[in-house]
């Protein structure tokens, strides 16, 4: 059975593709900000600390009987909390910002592992969160993801010029009367939400792929941040659909296949682009 026939017969595969395409928008848009603002490491920290929230949610759901809880809520909670903590360090304790980011990274993962250890019958699923398995996304989750996706896009449509300004030249933005600190926090929050969206597709460990590689590739070929975003969205979709199809045929894990495809494309684009520049 080919990939397209499988799509017609398998609703799970369809939701996997929808989630992949929806998250491609935030991957391209927020990923571009993350790359040009050089906050990739912050993205890594937020995405790994999300495991703490997922662990907490699973533990509450399965060991404590809080039935409405879902890993998605835990992930969102942890991502937003991490973004606020990192933002607070950036604004008030900038000298040790990178150490704090690393600490948050490992504290979040440690809490996740501990909560999961306390949760009965879970071991198999841990890999789903770490390397991604879009097939565990429920229908409710899918609606929440789509709503978040649209919210992120709408906010960016209104705020893009301001985000561009704080990414390029914070001092100038300040002189122009922008609330640079508030905008920075907003950008971190959007990054956090986008990371949660992307984790559904490729998992915690591989989320950095989707946040950085499409944007990094398109940065090689554009002169404007907005066109960088459009190209990155396209690339991201290509990697998601291509990776999912390849994974289906080869019976490989989806997240890892998508990440590998993106990684290969990055290497190739660097090889093509860099010599012509020097």
């Amino acid at each position: 059975m080919s990939f397209f026939e499988a799509l017609l017969n398998n609703p799970l595969l369809v939701s996997a593709l929808i989630a992949g395409i929806a998250s491609s928008f935030v991957s391209g848009i927020i990923g571009s900000y993350v790359v040009v603002k050089r906050i990739v490491f912050i993205g890594g920290s937020i995405s790994h600390s999300v495991l703490g929230g997922i662990g907490l949610a699973l533990w509450l759901e399965r060991a404590k009987g809080v039935l409405w809880m879902s890993p998605l809520y835990g992930a969102l909670f942890a991502a937003v909390l991490s973004a606020l903590v990192i933002g607070w360090f950036h604004l008030y304790h900038r000298q040790r910002e990178d150490s704090a980011i690393a600490a948050l990274w490992s504290i979040g993962m440690a809490m996740g592992v501990l909560f999961i250890a306390q949760t009965p019958g879970f071991n198999v699923e841990l890999t789903n969160f770490l390397i991604g398995n879009i097939l565990w996304v429920s229908h409710t989750d899918l609606y929440i993801l789509l709503a978040l996706d649209i919210a992120v896009i709408l906010i960016v449509l209104c705020m893009h010029k301001r985000f561009l300004a704080i990414c390029f030249d914070e001092e100038h933005a300040l002189l122009q009367g922008l609330s640079v600190n508030a905008l920075y926090l907003l950008l971190l929050l959007l990054t956090a939400i986008s990371i949660v969206l992307l984790i559904q597709v490729v998992g915690i460990i591989l989320v950095m792929t989707m946040l950085t590689i499409p944007a990094a590739i398109s940065n090689l070929y554009t002169v404007r941040l907005s066109s960088m975003m459009v190209i990155a969205i396209g690339l991201s979709m290509l990697f998601c659909v291509g990776g999912t199809a390849a994974a289906y045929h080869l019976d490989w894990p989806g997240g890892a296949t998508i990440a590998l495809l993106a990684g290969l494309a990055y290497v190739v684009s660097l090889l093509v682009r860099i010599p012509s520049r020097s």
Partner: protein
């Protein structure tokens, strides 16, 4: 006439290292002022105080009779080009347009007046042909003129430049001074420079900053050096 910039007994220190001590400066509207002094002498700190990025430990700073952070709408600031990320995806036009950020409505799109002002500023700087190029691909002189265009596009009363000729060739340097000369009289211009020749030939008033600040007229700068009146090497 009220001074454009007025500093009275301003002192500043980073932690325990004093940078400026009891600095008193008056700059008249429309003057073209050069700031010279050794590295680490406090030139950049002085600019940051006037821009309101730093607060003085003691003393008073007024820009057009206001506290610096409230006078920002009247300021145009031209930073050093070396500070920027050359790979950053921003076109020259976008860069200049960002000088109109304070006019941006909540929904985030520039109006006709903003775009027109940006195109005019580009024209004035001789950059119209390059408006769709990436900022990072410009030569030093072009990049510096683009930043001047960004500062001018909001029609500021005070233009502050941090070493505008530091990384440009001599032709670009001459171009930049020609532009500033055209603006002087209409706008108050404050320029940090390492270029002593410029300090003597181009400006009307020179401020030497080395913890303390002294105001000189350009021809006094020559005498200072000729007779070694200054206690430490100035540059």
């Amino acid at each position: 006439m009220n001074p454009a910039i007025h500093l009275e007994n301003v002192s500043f220190a980073y932690q325990d290292t004093p940078v400026l001590k009891k600095v008193t400066i008056n700059i008249r509207p429309g003057d073209f002022v050069g700031i010279i002094g050794p590295n680490g002498g406090g030139k950049t700190t002085l600019l940051k105080l006037i821009l309101g990025f730093l607060k003085p430990l003691s003393g008073k700073i007024e820009v057009f009779g206001m506290q610096p952070q409230f006078a920002r709408q009247k300021l145009g600031y031209v930073p050093q080009i070396a500070r920027f990320d050359r790979q950053f995806p921003i076109s020259v036009y976008e860069l200049v347009l960002s000088g109109r950020l304070s006019f941006l409505p909540w929904y985030g799109y520039y109006g006709k007046a903003d775009k027109l002002a940006a195109l005019e500023a580009l024209e004035m700087m001789g950059l119209s042909r390059l408006k769709d190029k990436a900022f990072g691909t410009l030569s030093g002189g072009q990049a510096q003129r683009a930043l001047i265009a960004r500062a001018l596009v909001s029609d500021p009363e005070l233009l502050i430049l941090d070493e505008p000729t530091a990384s440009v060739d001599s032709q670009a340097e001459a171009d930049i001074y020609a532009i500033l000369k055209k603006l002087s009289g209409k706008k108050t211009i404050l320029m940090v420079t390492h270029d002593l020749k410029a300090a003597i030939n181009e400006v009307q008033q020179v401020i030497c900053v080395q913890q303390e600040a002294i105001s000189l007229s350009p021809h006094e700068v020559c005498e200072h050096f000729a007779f070694g009146l200054y206690h430490k090497p100035l540059l």
